[in-house]
């Protein structure tokens, strides 16, 4: 065997070491586009070898179906919860929320449905804000809690209460209450209602839309006390909001429904992680970004890897859902939505919607086990 000179050997060893270290780093802290490119590289091999492997170990066909959702859909619950009180001359129109940021939400309706800038947006008796900008098919709602939206308020009660101005703060801080009359004596815990501004129809105040509750904050001993509003934005409002219109528009607003594609089991087990992962084959080419596997109407788990039309999903129990979730809780007043996952066993939960998963996917009830397959499966994508 011909040995390389020492320097050349060291150079090669260094180069190999660097390449291997980079590969290791990519494996541990993956760059999504590189993973996608490598997945595409492995897709042709998967197309040939996975069917052979499936022939060797037949995937198990499921016989049981998961329990169905207690409600038709999360959207129907949101629509029922969010209907505002009757206001003369106003038709409340439910509009889906397409995207949420900290201060603004993008809504699925625009000028085509008669929306205009400055229009009030509410959910039930909760005041949310006004339309900041309107395009043909979309509108942007500026939440009243954002720093750039001073909002008139009545403290205590509407018409006859203490007038004030609420100013939102950055980074989700409680809105401040300013310009309270010096002679007024508001109390901690007083309800704070929306007050109309010039140009708003006067009858809107009859809706008694609430901003939150008045709270005394700061250190009184150092004369640093101030009034703030404790807000409670309903979680259900993150799905749809209501906009007051003069007449019923001709077309319904644009719903952002998740993309779906039928799926079937592809492999008996994963080649490395065994039966902890489910391999499925789906017409995933129609899905730009497959995110979750749904079986019998319930989410089986998130899609973790794709190699062309071959996908892998991780079956998870409802409480282990990696995205945000919303629970439907029974209350004396009907169903209400609560943020996060409650630990009460049996609470039904849905996906809350975030950058990765669409809103309203039925996740199951807290305490239910994970299930790996169902008779009818589909992949949901964004």
């Amino acid at each position: 065997m011909e040995l390389l000179p020492a320097a050349e050997r060291n150079r090669r060893a260094l180069a190999v070491g660097v390449v291997l270290a980079l590969l290791g780093l990519q494996a541990l802290w993956p760059e999504p586009w590189l993973e996608r490119a490598a997945g595409r590289l492995a897709a042709p091999a998967a197309r040939v070898l996975a069917p052979l492997s499936a022939w060797l170990s037949e995937p198990v066909e499921a016989l049981v179906q998961p329990p169905p959702s207690p409600v038709a859909s999360l959207a129907s619950v949101e629509e029922g919860l969010g209907r505002p009180p009757r206001v003369p001359g106003t038709v409340w129109w439910p509009v889906p929320v397409l995207e949420r940021r900290s201060s603004t939400w993008t809504l699925g309706a625009g000028r085509a449905l008669g929306l205009f800038q400055g229009q009030p947006v509410v959910f039930g008796t909760t005041w949310l804000g006004r339309l900041e900008s309107v395009s043909e098919r979309n509108a942007v709602l500026r939440l009243w809690t954002s720093p750039d939206a001073p909002t008139g308020a009545w403290i205590g009660r509407v018409e006859g209460g203490v007038p004030a101005i609420c100013l939102g703060r950055r980074q989700g801080g409680e809105p401040l209450v300013r310009q309270v009359h010096p002679a007024a004596e508001p109390a901690d815990g007083d309800p704070v209602y929306w007050r109309r501004r010039e140009g708003d129809p006067p009858w809107f105040e009859r809706g008694q839309f609430r901003l939150g509750f008045l709270r005394r904050r700061g250190d009184e001993g150092r004369r640093e006390g101030y009034w703030a509003v404790e807000t409670a934005l309903p979680v259900a409002a993150e799905g749809r909001v209501y906009i007051g219109l003069g007449a019923i528009p001709p077309d319904p607003p644009a719903e952002r429904l998740p993309e779906r594609a039928a799926a079937r089991p592809a492999l008996g087990a994963d080649g490395v992680y065994g039966s902890r992962l489910v391999a499925i084959r789906a017409a995933a080419a129609v899905l730009p970004e497959p995110t979750a596997l749904v079986g019998g109407g319930r989410v089986i788990g998130p899609v973790v890897t794709a190699r062309g039309s071959l996908l892998w999903a991780a079956p998870l129990a409802p409480e282990s859902w990696p995205g945000l979730a919303v629970a439907l809780e029974e209350t004396p007043f009907g169903l209400s939505t609560e943020p996060g996952i409650l630990l009460r066993p049996g609470a039904p939960i849905f996906s809350r919607g975030d950058g990765r998963f669409p809103r309203g996917l039925w996740l199951g009830r807290i305490g239910e086990p994970a299930f790996a397959a169902a008779r009818e499966m589909e992949v949901v994508g964004r």
Binding site: L20, A27, A46, G268, D270, R276, G301, V304
Partner: protein, 160 residues
């Protein structure tokens, strides 16, 4: 020094092993089995890394094959296989292969990077692996390597 098996033998064997991997993992106790492609790679690549390009080609091919039947990232496979070969090469400088324990240690060293990477990546795939399974995989690679690479007289003794 043993000659590595020929391409005409290794390639079909690698494909057959890849096809059988989901079946093996689905068996009771299959999760503890060592990675069969790693064993094949260790056998296919000469123990002294004189030909880096050839070794890299095998690593690339085996990584792709592994990724075709698993959710494991091809990068984890490439890094695991490549580092495994490098670890084996490094360990060989210090260990005499005529002793069982030395060969066992050599095999464990070769399985260590892939085992660790699979273990770490599993949490991200929502399929966390118990550390015992990872250790069992590495130890089994070491045991198989120690038995398979035993010098001929010792193998005869083991067989009798």
């Amino acid at each position: 020094m043993r000659r590595p098996p020929r391409i005409a033998v290794v390639l079909p064997a690698a494909v057959a092993v890849t096809v059988a991997m989901p079946l093996l993992r689905g068996l009771p106790g299959g999760m503890a089995l060592p990675d069969p492609l790693l064993l094949l790679l260790l056998a296919a690549v000469p123990r002294r890394l004189g030909q880096v390009r050839r070794a890299a080609a095998w690593v690339f091919l085996f990584g792709l094959l592994r990724a075709s039947v698993s959710a494991a990232s091809p990068f984890a496979s490439w890094a695991g296989y490549g580092l495994g070969l490098a670890m084996r090469s490094l360990a060989q400088r210090y260990l005499a292969e005529d002793r069982f324990l030395a060969r066992l240690l050599l095999g464990v060293c070769a399985a260590l990077p892939l085992g660790l990477l699979d273990h770490l990546v599993s949490a991200r795939l929502f399929a966390p692996m118990a550390i015992e399974l990872t250790l069992a995989r590495m130890l089994l690679v070491g045991l198989l390597w120690a038995v398979a690479m035993a010098p001929p007289p010792m193998r005869r003794e083991l067989a009798s």
